[in-house]
Symmetry: C2
Subunit: 397 residues, 2 copies
Amino acid sequence: MPRFSKAVSSLRSSEIRDLMTLASRPDIISFAGGMPGNDLFPVQAIEDLFKALDIKKKRIAFQYGPTPGLPSLLESLSGFLEKKGLPVHTNRLLITTGSQQGLNLLGKAFIDPHDPVLVENPCFIGALSAFRSYDAELRGVPVDRDGIVMEALQQEIDKKEKPKFLYITPYFHNPAGLLYSSERKEQLITALQGRDIPLIEDDAYGDLYFFEEDREQLKPIKAINPEGIEICYTGSFSKILGPGLRLGWMLVPEEIYQKCELIKQSADACSPSFTQVLADEFIRSGQIYSYIATVRQEYKRRANAMVSALKEHLPNYVQWNEPRGGFYLWLTLPEETDATKIVQLAIEGGAVFVIGKTFDPAGTHNNSLRLSYCNNTLEQIAEGIPIVARAIRQVCG
Amino acid sequence: MPRFSKAVSSLRSSEIRDLMTLASRPDIISFAGGMPGNDLFPVQAIEDLFKALDIKKKRIAFQYGPTPGLPSLLESLSGFLEKKGLPVHTNRLLITTGSQQGLNLLGKAFIDPHDPVLVENPCFIGALSAFRSYDAELRGVPVDRDGIVMEALQQEIDKKEKPKFLYITPYFHNPAGLLYSSERKEQLITALQGRDIPLIEDDAYGDLYFFEEDREQLKPIKAINPEGIEICYTGSFSKILGPGLRLGWMLVPEEIYQKCELIKQSADACSPSFTQVLADEFIRSGQIYSYIATVRQEYKRRANAMVSALKEHLPNYVQWNEPRGGFYLWLTLPEETDATKIVQLAIEGGAVFVIGKTFDPAGTHNNSLRLSYCNNTLEQIAEGIPIVARAIRQVCG
């Protein structure tokens, strides 16, 4: 009988896996996954770009690369990030095997068992599982429509036992769908300055805005570049090219970069050269910009379809956000509701989604649910939302 | 100033990184890397296989896949491993982001800080860094020409504080180049049976044998499938397709699989779908078998060239193995030698390799060095070995 390490002995089989098995059943309409539309990938573009490479570059795709990433991709990605105003010259860029790995490396860099870590409530499950796997004590801070709730955050910051870092996803939050207001970002900056609590700013969805007018609000805190806060900015090719390439990045201060590079070396030596070469060509050809513009419109169309269906079918005691970008809609049900019952009924009816407690750091709050519209046709949305609405009515009346 | 976790605070910038920077200089002949021959990758075959896929499979390449691996690859890889006699039906197969990730997941599954772990001395540096990153207490057990030294191993096994596992690379050992004898494997099995010490058997190079007559000796301990030992068998596509795909695997008992799947989920969600699709097609087309047969012959040619050059140029007080497969030659110098001086002189002369202490779990023994012939032309070998020999004579006389 193997004796497992303490840090992982508390890891349990996650409900999310069973859910994803359900979600892949052809007879069930899935609003559960956070995966890009299967029909939207730039398949032909990538195939043509690879074919056009000279043999030297093709061989680079098959070979080990440097741990921090292929130099050519680091250069082209720097250009891409510089357009967002990010301080690529005064920080270091590291290519990661998906942004999930970025969160894991940062978790490993900072967390000793039982260390307190601040996260939003609700919070991205990948971040929860990365930090849990190092046995962090997760402290959830609630969010409202404008971002993290400052009073609750201030209380946590002021506690005697200082948290190791604060993790947030300010731009089209997963799962809450919200976009931080500029004012809330400023308050957050003020609260963190000089407190020696690094900020992990996860920007996996920021490119997928539906309204040009939101662009100023989408400016990363990392791009504001405030004094007195160590900001670890993470991003991903998953939503702007394809998650199957497993490529993300972190832009971080030198000292944190040095640790993360060593941790990554021991984690998987380097990110896939094959897909790094493809991502590099996708940026250098300029196709990444036109591609993002296209999928933005398509996700907006899907979001609108879901909003219309929800307006038509949901009872009025359900609260939810109208998405301004990203992949998600977050439904809040009456306080005492148990979303588990709703999802069971919905599955019987032929639709599935993720229940609220999955995103709660404490795993308890369950009067909410996440609907994603990213990988659905308009027809599936029109057919599936009434099933969800019916299940809600059956439980909540 | 960020406060890093205890486990990683001892991680230091590795010499190997500086060495690899040197190794990439065009004016230096590198015998340092463990990378496949750049000119040997099946570039056209992979390009053609991808092009021939239907759109559904191409989209799978861009999308998230299940954490344990794409079902189609798990099936084809099972067939590939079953031909080696491996118990694919009574164990579980997990695709990893390179076999480096496999070692890291196993390290995380088993190691608490200061836990003793048994490794060979010398030992693969990727394993050392993976286990060190969980703050293991590494206990090196010497190897001789036939494998791990049984008396030394037995002493370690009998210690009161039981080691968490034993890690070995029995087939064309990195760096020692040796191939475990069948007798030694039997002795090892007997020593471990019923002792509750899992065995991690790393078989990254076993396919690259130079002599058909060695095939029986190459049978994995996992394929012998002895009672009373939990064996975690790891392998890789890095040497039989390309490391840039970042794909490896582990074949492990159910309970260990369950932990590793959860750890992997938090590490990078899944291995790259893009390269998994390619590897799957490479196996299913049967081209993997003909490709391996081809590179075997090519590496044999390079090994022979290096052996000839060493016979001609090395002083006779240097001991070394004639490789029967794999990538490496291991040179043992007189006891008091410091290989650091030799490599400095060699670099001045225009050649580089890795010094012995890099592979020593304690980081001290340095009267040895590793030469790899895998990524060199015959001309580079003929030109570079005299430089190495000259540096040795300058230091050792």
